[in-house]
Symmetry: C2
Subunit: 589 residues, 2 copies
Amino acid sequence: MATYNAPIDDMMFLFEKLRDNPHYNELEKYKEVNSALAKDILEQAAKINETLILPLAKIGDEKPTTFENGVVITPPGYKEAYKKFIEDGWVSLSCDPQYGGQGMPKTVSSFFDEMLSSASLSFKLYSELSIGAYNCIFHHGEDSLKKKFLPNMVKGTWSGTMCLTEPVCGTDLGLLKTKAIEQSNGTYKLTGQKIFITSGDHDLTENIIHLVLARIPDSPQGTKGISLFLVPKIQVKEDGSLGPRNGVSTGSIETKMGIKGSATCVLNFDGAIGYIIGPKNKGLSSMFTMMNLERIVVGIQGLGLSEIAYQNALNYSKERRQGKSNSSKAKNGADLIIDHADIRRSLLNMKSIIEGERALSFWLAQQTEVSLHHKDNKIKEEALDFVSLMTPIVKSLFTDMGMEITSDAMQIFGGYGYTKDQGIEQLYRDNRITPIYEGTNSIQAIDLVFRKLISKNKDIIGRYIKLVDEEIKKNKNQNEIKPLAEKLDKYLKITISFTDWIKEKVKSSKNDAGAASNDYLKVLGLIALAHSWLKVLNVSYKELDKNKKFFEDKIKTADFFFNRVLPRIDFHYKSAISGSSNIMDFKFN
Amino acid sequence: MATYNAPIDDMMFLFEKLRDNPHYNELEKYKEVNSALAKDILEQAAKINETLILPLAKIGDEKPTTFENGVVITPPGYKEAYKKFIEDGWVSLSCDPQYGGQGMPKTVSSFFDEMLSSASLSFKLYSELSIGAYNCIFHHGEDSLKKKFLPNMVKGTWSGTMCLTEPVCGTDLGLLKTKAIEQSNGTYKLTGQKIFITSGDHDLTENIIHLVLARIPDSPQGTKGISLFLVPKIQVKEDGSLGPRNGVSTGSIETKMGIKGSATCVLNFDGAIGYIIGPKNKGLSSMFTMMNLERIVVGIQGLGLSEIAYQNALNYSKERRQGKSNSSKAKNGADLIIDHADIRRSLLNMKSIIEGERALSFWLAQQTEVSLHHKDNKIKEEALDFVSLMTPIVKSLFTDMGMEITSDAMQIFGGYGYTKDQGIEQLYRDNRITPIYEGTNSIQAIDLVFRKLISKNKDIIGRYIKLVDEEIKKNKNQNEIKPLAEKLDKYLKITISFTDWIKEKVKSSKNDAGAASNDYLKVLGLIALAHSWLKVLNVSYKELDKNKKFFEDKIKTADFFFNRVLPRIDFHYKSAISGSSNIMDFKFN
């Protein structure tokens, strides 16, 4: 089984030294969330993830969720663990105190998301979508619905889902067919089939609150005629107690490559009673509030799986002896594989990406909180613009890097990595869903290029580039950092050229832009990681004497990132700007 | 289930138009292997792979090989299929007619290897190692052993294995502990444990011929004290009939991420009778004859799995409708996903790599035959040098690209690709062993950099670069090809700089060379693919009028490769030459 130690030191370093967004620090509601509190929470979080949750990963893989006689049964031990998990209040961590939540900011809860993803992604998914559904109801639901449904969802005795996909529509929600017919009492009756519904049914909670996209008859075609409904699995009476079963049933569950402990369901709605959330025909925009936050969490899943993969590869490389290293002093026998240059290179590649991602994610957590809670609307909106820009990047980059890292970790284990015993190949299989769900990474790239760079005539990408540029300028004067700051400067200039090219192509040749979108996303992602590393470097040199080992590690890892990872930009840029004429003309047999 | 159509057109194109190695064409023994014969064989091969073998892939994945009461049982249908497979003579395709083989060159048999890898890698492995063992006995065994063992191995009623790995040694064979004690009659008794033995035991053949590396007491330490032995599972009497069971038993089989139809065994040797092959203490060099050829076949496995993944992704992209393409004419509903620029880019990426690999592999097949059979020793040796240089490249590049391509293919299927129904995720899992076995890709990179560039004072890499340079010069004069030839010229110059850097570092800083080895392998691999594409381009323009659709496809696919894939060299080069001091200094926690 894979082992795991939550990287609290790195998390606390970020929390203490890089909580540097002045607008975040202005938020009244988080004034009391100080280092001591954060550390206490992270230590408790580490404990439950390292001991209670981690073993569920292997159990879920070996004894997947089953579906028998219309009932979904989670793997052995999930029920008991879930009970403890909600008793300890982990579902409610980021929820509003008004409904029983603990009101923690994302600067804390996103670390918990990472830990839980490391420990068991399958188990995590049972509460993750609940929080998504909670957020959506919280922001768009009527008060009566909030009062009726949120407290139990926050407590975790009820869970939630997001029901978007149908057999003919995943990416393209405009095609969806589920119907919602209004009843005389203002409720709706929903009929249709939803597929790939994560945690769509299970035996962990008393009730499941589905958020369902559906079409009201006579609504406009396409995405402009979609509304959002709250549809409980079991009806809830006026007094809040459970009533009869609603018209929702589970058709089947998917047999998947990984996350086998998670139930991925086909749900059939047959005149199920539902309550509309938000205005008619505006369902997609309400759903996207929650979808966007969810996409960032999917990115964090990739980060969490990368972290545990790295830890296990590192441990193994300190135990396994094979071959003589170049500087071997051993006369007989073999050296530890961690003494081999290529293994070290691979480990540092993982580490430099993981720690860069964690820093970027922490920066984004601050921006997200500002975008949700700042008093000044202008500041709020500016933060939201950055969050929107970074959402597809974090979702795609972290999950794609997660594939690279879980694969490289398996490679370090050699033949043992390919067997089930070590738990490494499972990380790879579990992570393989992350570039697919919540909008494939291809969709994220298109979203970035066509919708996020410029929005409502605001040059968001320009503002982001300026932010990076300012950080470079600040660091160019520091002798130790100068060489890396200049390297980033060079790559930022390439990124500016690439951005100008993309902006022009979005107008003049959409296919050129589309064929370049994946490369562009990667480039901007690498810049964002380098930006994060530059800030980490700055702090590391300042604080070097206070914790020499820790900050020397950071400095060397940053150096690796700038020299060995950042140059990927060269390839992506050159490849992308070669255009699309031959691609579009090609006659596939 | 995944579908498959053997790419006979592309194979026959190579066989007819790119059998351009003059020394290959001088080989007397293959004079009669003409296009008509090759086509006939490929058509028969396509038939058996598309119909009989393909369904075994899914069966093997769903009902893996089992191990009960000491006996290994292959998945349902494997036995019947294997019977037909050997009756039709497919095991004997490349074997010597002297022992009942069909004597086909690798220019034909490697196409069969590709098809069989596409259809079912698990099933392939039962005969693949037999051919490896056959080659080893054929080249190094005494005549009496050959007569006794080869005819049944060629027939396929007996199979073979390669027993190298032990619990403490995979990569580093110097550590191996299995002992061989000489008996008064000249045979040996072997005792020890071997692990990860592919097809180490199964129920498809009457007997299994193990080739086992072991140490004779008082032999030198390390790799210079290893000898090679033939150890049959069941003893063979003087008259060739089967005798009692030998002292070899199966301890267990591995539970793996993929290739679940293949038995990966722990074998225990307890005083098993063995016959020495080749001179004492020279076992490793005999084994490597077969190992090197086997490594090329592993590369071809990656190619085969890439091909079937591409075909299925292409088919799906022509059926699935999602979203509007940039040039959509449809007013309602969605376009086929193949109309989207990013999907087309992904498909062409796969196609351009696959067809480049097939052309490179065909070039290498000719070199291999020259290296084995040419009358002129100098020509033979020169060909062998190229084969040695290309072996780690083909093994690593094709298998790493196989991961990229099977993953990208899954991505095109979206959520459906992650479920078991489509058979796509299995291709990814099955392929994941190929970068690991027969020497991990990290080992291949080290082998390339430290042993293959310069060998016995011969500048092999210099000769290879010259070969590519000559092809560029030849094509620079042709107007249509000129831009791509110049692009390759530019990247060849980078490769020359990189090579000079590597050669210098191999002497002055082995860690710099080691940390750069993986990038160097990738660069040389991309150059080799581009070299192959340049030759294909040359033919395509010459023959354009004869088969317009086919050659236009080739020209556009080549264009994609040069513009979108070849620039990866920029990144690998820059990353690699940044050195290793921080990597080697790093204090991993």
